[in-house]
Symmetry: C2
Subunit: 221 residues, 2 copies
DNA sequence: CTTGTTTGCCAACACATGTTGACATCCTCC
DNA sequence: GGAGGATGTCAACATGTGTTGGCAAACAAG
């Protein structure tokens, strides 16, 4: 797709946002072969995404201004627009989440699903600021909320399906599990309520694992 | 306290925000005697607070603009400033929360604390948009987060103290309870995740009551 | 080197925000 | 009726926002 702009007398034809075509949510991590040649601006793009993630995580959507993100990345705000079209595009590119949920369908792992999932969630939240960003944004931004719903639907629900006896109850049980896990993340990583931040990792696992296990596998009360 | 402003040649002395002195977080509900005479502007104040609560609840702190709130209340934006000084003051006045947590210290009620508290929380959240407002704001606003921490500390912690055996474990157990209850509110009333909104009230009580009961009274795992 | 494209910076626009001050009007009390 | 404070409206200010277009330098290909 091309744009034409008249500049003075001349008529300049150029691809306006040439790199938007190959835009993917990936970091500066090595891209899969075939997804486009490496670009000279990849470092800048990566810096923008990293800064965006951090700002979205700490400030939420509205207060994470493009100017502040650009400043963190040591570039001009207009670069953000060139590479990600607008703020929404930047957010979409910045928060691409794969929970990498473990498989718990094996008979032996099924009875340990609660513990496995809680431990996995703690690992995820403590090493991935994108999750905090998404939660912060999801609370105040419609697009963020929808993305969050999508993640629960596409990633959490299948896990519940693996261990839940009655297929009809899968959505309800996944929702219960989400409520407890997100509630912990909310109090511990977002609101930073003192007693929640003070909990030891082992404590959390010991308390929450039976809850998740029960939500997933216990007969409905 | 008085302010003086020179207007042209004259020198006008007047109380600038006379009504801020008697400002309290209360609604248009009848004030306690002695806290000041009823003011002619009480209706306006109430309309402002009501509109502010609704906007804060649906939009969060940043996107709930004073202009929008004023429009909802059918008054001029400057009135908001006169009565509540600034946006922070308005927020502080708008979200004054008393969870009215029931007493669960009786021996008979202690073993039912989980169910009682879950039911009470559902009542609260479904009839009080202030809670949604506070949660939304607490996630993106430092002042909101601190207020939320204060509520948990001053209102939720004492309840845990009533039923928890070991005083030393009270903060941890209160934090666990908060994580589950706030997590439910988050998924159901803020993010509005479909499976969470679809849960029946009785279902929620049946699933969550044992969790809360365990967090409060079970021996530590 | 020359030509066209990519990358980056600069200045600006249009708009929305919180906030302020001046002025008119209403009500109350003397 | 008149004085003074309370209430409300209007217009504006300063600032910050997302966003755009133009232009210069770095680069790649012929």
């Amino acid at each position: 797709m091309c744009w034409q702009t008249s500049v003075g007398e001349r008529l300049v034809t150029y691809t306006r946002w040439p790199t938007l075509v190959g835009m993917n949510g990936s970091d500066s991590a090595p891209r899969v072969p075939g997804s486009g040649a490496p670009r000279r601006s990849d470092a800048t793009r990566g810096a923008i995404l990293a800064a965006a993630r951090e700002r979205f995580a700490t400030d939420g959507y509205e207060r994470a201004t493009i100017r502040a993100i650009a400043k963190d990345a040591n570039i001009d705000p207009s670069m953000v627009m060139r590479y990600y079209r607008n703020k929404e595009g930047l957010f979409a590119a910045a928060v691409a989440i794969d929970l990498r949920l473990p498989d718990v369908s094996g008979a032996d792992r099924r009875q340990d699903a609660g513990r496995i999932l809680v431990e996995h969630f703690l690992d995820m939240w403590e090493n991935n600021e994108v999750l905090t960003a998404l939660l912060r944004v999801g609370v105040t931004n419609q697009a963020g909320a929808e993305r969050m719903q999508g993640i629960l639907r596409d990633q959490l629900l299948p896990v519940a399906r693996q261990v839940c006896p009655d297929p009809e109850q899968v959505p309800a049980r996944a929702a219960l599990m989400a409520s407890q896990l997100l509630g912990l993340a909310l109090t511990r990583y977002v609101l930073r309520v003192p007693p929640a931040t003070g909990l030891e990792r082992a404590e959390i696992v010991a308390w929450l694992a039976p809850t998740i296990q029960r939500y997933l596998t216990a007969p409905s009360p």
